[in-house]
């Protein structure tokens, strides 16, 4: 049987029967997308590999609980993103933000709710020094608040629809739109600032 020709749900169903080749196939398909997302979230290769590995092991061990009504990739990204966010919270990594709460309705609200936590991870300068995450856009991406970053990455790098991003992030569709629009707006400001 050529596993590469099978659809995700077929491979998952074989994995549910305990076939190692099915697990390997899923790993082959998603190691790069999952690692990319996690790496850009935690901004550290070693930590990213730990988180990505944990995500795969967690997903594989819980493969019986996967609901085939949803896309397997969405389920896997959800696990990986949750683990990455947990890791960010634990280590108080980069949470620099320009805007306030997504539901802020006035400038005062936005200022009141915007937070700037001390970053114990890499500084923005260190991001640039990092060869893989170098460049203006990667640097700007690293400055986004985590939820904006996840939403923008899932939309632009992984090509998920707004609905899928909402499913992965477990937030309403309107919130996802807000995250993506504000995330892009911050990126635009940062890119314009870098050029100027």
């Amino acid at each position: 049987m050529d596993y590469a020709q099978l659809e995700d749900r077929e491979v998952v169903s074989l994995a549910c029967e305990g076939r190692q080749r099915a697990f390997r196939e899923l790993l082959t398909r998603y190691e790069k997308p999952v690692f990319s997302l996690v790496f850009r979230m935690v901004r550290d290769r070693e930590r990213a590999e730990d988180v990505a590995q944990e995500a795969f092991v967690k997903a594989f061990n819980a493969i019986d609980t996967y609901d085939p009504r949803y896309k397997f990739s969405s389920w896997l990204f959800k696990i990986a993103n949750n683990l990455a966010i947990d890791r960010l919270r634990k280590r108080e990594l980069d949470t620099v933000s320009i805007h306030g709460a997504p539901d802020a309705r006035s400038n005062e609200d936005e200022e009141r709710t915007s937070i700037t936590l001390p970053s114990t991870g890499e500084s923005p300068e260190e991001y640039v020094e990092n060869r893989e995450l170098g460049g203006q856009i990667e640097d700007a991406m690293g400055r986004l608040r985590p939820e904006y970053r996840t939403a923008v990455l899932l939309r632009h790098v992984e090509g998920h629809t707004y609905d899928e991003v909402a499913e992965i992030m477990d937030v309403p569709l309107g919130t996802v739109k807000t995250y993506i629009h504000r995330g892009r707006a911050e990126l635009k400001e940062m890119l314009a600032g870098a050029v100027a």
Partner: protein, 316 residues
């Protein structure tokens, strides 16, 4: 509808008179009217109004009415003036569009392909007339292009192997199935196998039925051959079978009696009954104890099954 307390509305009565009701509804209305004098009276009132309206005469305007009206109708403008008007409207729209900028959300939706065809056309038309929006659109395009150029990053070599090793190490060994589990698994497997052997078409089921009925046909044929003997009739066979059943029942009764006679428990019960019958007071005491036990059992059943006390406290 037939309930006189719910009278027909004036709308329903008017619709009925105008023949606008469906057949079923018309029947219901007529049934109600037959039994409700108030609605019937109201219907008569509506009939009168309708007939008076129908009898209203057509009135004619005064002389030269048409000429007076036409004198008030503006004449159709010339082609040139119509073209100028269209141009003025278009320019006005462009000016209005130029005044209402698209804004970041609209521009992002445009680049995201989230706008409908009409909105997209309007947005582009606006940008043609609005350098500010055009410039901002280009800035957004830069952001989108930059985001689109972000590559997927690969983990280090051996990542997949490490994940599989960690997965295999983390996977808990499957518990050894018990006897019952194994029996159930075996029964399930056998059922599956049997299910595969079953036919799936009506013709297959017919064939299977014919094969399954062969032994029964053989037995019937044998019985027919036996009962065809002149000395062996169906009645005689039935009598023989009834004798065999009676013999079996007698043998079972004899075995049961013998078991009771040999049983120590039965002996003890017999002795206790004999002693009780010899002493009436003991018999009465025994009966009262039995009665008390029965009452207590009934009470426990009532409290726990029929009228359980309300559960207090919170569930975990």
């Amino acid at each position: 509808m037939n309930d006189p307390s719910t009278h027909l509305s004036s709308e329903a009565l008017q619709a009925y008179l105008e023949g606008e009701l469906a057949a079923e509804r018309t029947e219901k209305v007529e049934a109600h009217l037959a039994g409700c004098s108030r609605c019937a009276s109201e219907l008569d009132g509506w009939r009168l109004v309708f007939s008076q309206l129908d009898e209203l005469p057509g009135l004619e305007p005064s002389e030269n009415f048409a000429e007076r009206v036409m004198a008030e109708v503006p004449t159709r403008p010339s082609l040139g003036s119509r073209l100028m008007g269209t141009l003025r409207t278009a320019m006005g729209r462009r000016i209005r569009n130029a005044e209402e900028h698209l804004g970041p959300d609209r521009l992002q939706e445009l680049l995201d392909g989230a706008l409908g065809q009409g909105d997209r056309r309007r947005a582009h038309a606006h940008m043609e007339a609005c350098p500010a929006c055009q410039s901002e659109f280009q800035e957004w395009q830069t952001v989108f292009t930059s985001l689109g150029s972000l590559p997927r990053l690969a983990p280090s070599e051996g990542f997949a192997r490490r994940v599989m090793t960690a997965f295999q190490a983390s996977a808990s060994p499957a518990p050894t199935p018990g006897v019952l589990d194994r029996a159930l698994q075996w029964a399930g497997a056998m059922t599956n196998q049997a299910g595969r052997l079953l036919p799936s078409t009506p013709r297959g089921w017919t064939g299977l039925g014919a094969i399954a009925s062969l032994p029964a046909l053989g037995v019937l044929a044998l019985m027919g051959a036996v009962t065809a003997h002149p000395l062996l009739t169906l009645c005689g066979l039935a009598t023989f079978l009834s004798w065999r059943v009676a013999d079996g029942f007698q043998a079972a009764m004899a075995w049961g009696s013998q078991w009771l006679a040999d049983s120590a428990v039965a002996g003890a019960l017999w002795e206790a009954a004999s002693a009780a019958s010899a002493s009436p007071s003991m018999a009465v005491a025994g009966l009262m104890a039995l009665w008390a036990l029965t009452l207590a059992s009934a009470w426990i059943l009532y409290r726990n099954v029929i009228a359980p006390s309300p559960v207090t406290g919170r569930h975990a």
